[in-house]
């Protein structure tokens, strides 16, 4: 003889049982009058509980909503760091756009400067910046002057430039900065999509 399923009758009555447990209880109820009587008592109690009526409407719904509205504090409470984070997140695309524009401007100016120098224009200006304070060669002579006659800055620039020319450094730098900006923007897009998904689930 199987044991009574009294412990499961509440869950059975409330439709909470599934699968094997549900079948076991139903099979037992089919031949156990005691448990069936107990289940019937639960059903009677549930029906009796519904005879207690809900709250009467003392305040009409519109007035209730208005009263709540009047009592609400100014804004829902949110920690300051969270508000700052929210603002920063929303402004991120602007920052990325600014970074892109800055990189474009830098390479545009560098390109124009290179063209100008190759044409022999404005060389004195750049030479003045790149030579040692006590006087030194102009830019036109930068690449023909031995190292000893150049300032540290000029020597470094010539090394980088000559190396960069061999390896397409300026192009590499440009592509790398574009890739970094693209990655930043892609990350922001992914976080925006993830937030949207979490709101709709």
């Amino acid at each position: 003889m199987t044991e009574h399923v009294t412990a499961w009758l509440d869950a059975y009555h409330d439709g909470e049982l599934r699968g094997r447990q549900l079948r076991r209880v139903e099979a037992h109820l089919a031949h156990c009058a005691t448990c069936r009587a107990e289940l019937e008592r639960r059903r009677a109690l549930a029906a009796l509980l519904q005879e207690s009526p809900p709250a009467r409407d003392v305040t009409p719904p519109d007035r209730f909503v208005a009263q709540v509205g009047l009592r609400l504090p100014r804004r829902p409470a949110q920690p300051a760091w969270r508000r700052a984070l929210e603002i920063g997140w929303r402004l991120a695309p602007l920052g990325i756009l600014g970074a892109w524009a800055f990189v474009q401007a830098v390479f545009l100016v560098a390109g124009l400067a290179t063209i100008a120098l190759n044409l022999g224009l404005g060389g004195d200006l750049v030479a003045g910046w790149m030579t040692a304070p006590h006087a030194g060669p102009g830019l036109a002579e930068l690449f023909s002057t031995p190292d000893a006659g150049l300032s540290d800055v000029a020597r470094a620039v010539r090394l980088v430039w000559e190396g960069g020319e061999r390896w397409g450094l300026s192009l590499t730098l440009y592509l790398a900065s574009m890739a970094a900006i693209g990655l930043l923007y892609g990350s922001w897009l992914a976080s925006w999509w993830a937030r949207r998904q979490s709101h709709t689930q």
Binding site: D10, R42, S52, T59, G69, R71, P76, Q78, S198
Partner: protein
């Protein structure tokens, strides 16, 4: 908001998102949608209509203050019910000595005045029996019997294990049967 074709849950998520950004009208709409359920939960726990309305307002104000912490993993209704049950328990603790249970209005019955009186008395007895339960069991019973929450939803709402939900519900039902049987077998019979 003109989105009659969107499912109700999606509309509600839009309202919640707007309210989290500070939109008081959106929050007002949420209050309108859940007002009846919240008032009933508190009323079933306290037995006093005016107290239930005040407590329901307090619950919605707390919900507004903590709206930033709501996550759509569980229904908004259950999250608000959690706040409402906490407010109701606070009210019961504070007003322990002074809560007067509302007398139920005598509703008319199509079957005649005698039946109406009998139904009224039965309703009154049931309400008193529910209010005689310990608060913890009463909360579980109210959420299950009157709001139709599943065991899992009750467990999430009250932040208790499902096993505790089942044992409290079992205790509440057995106790109610005893209390109502006492009434049935009382001196008037």
């Amino acid at each position: 908001m003109n989105s009659q074709s969107a499912p109700t849950a999606e509309i509600e998520l839009d309202l919640i998102a707007a309210a989290q950004r500070g939109d008081r009208q959106a929050f007002g709409e949420l209050v309108r949608r859940h007002r009846e359920g919240v008032i009933n939960v508190v009323y079933r726990m306290c037995g006093d209509t005016h107290l239930a309305e005040d407590a329901a307002q307090e619950a919605f104000i707390r919900a507004w203050q903590h709206l930033h912490s709501y996550r759509p993993r569980s229904p908004f209704r259950n999250w608000v019910y959690r706040i409402a049950t906490n407010v109701a328990l606070d009210v019961l603790r504070k007003e322990r000595e002074t809560v007067d249970i509302d007398p139920l209005p005598l509703a008319s019955s199509e079957k005649g005045p005698e039946i109406a009186v009998e139904e009224h008395q039965r309703g009154q007895r049931v309400r008193q029996a529910v209010l005689a339960l310990p608060p913890a069991s009463r909360t579980v019973l109210v959420l299950r019997e009157y709001e139709g929450l599943s065991y899992r939803e009750i467990a999430d709402t009250l932040d208790i294990p499902i096993g505790t939900v089942m044992s409290r519900l079992n205790y509440a039902r057995n106790r109610l049967r005893d209390l109502l049987a006492c009434h049935r077998n009382g001196p008037e019979e």
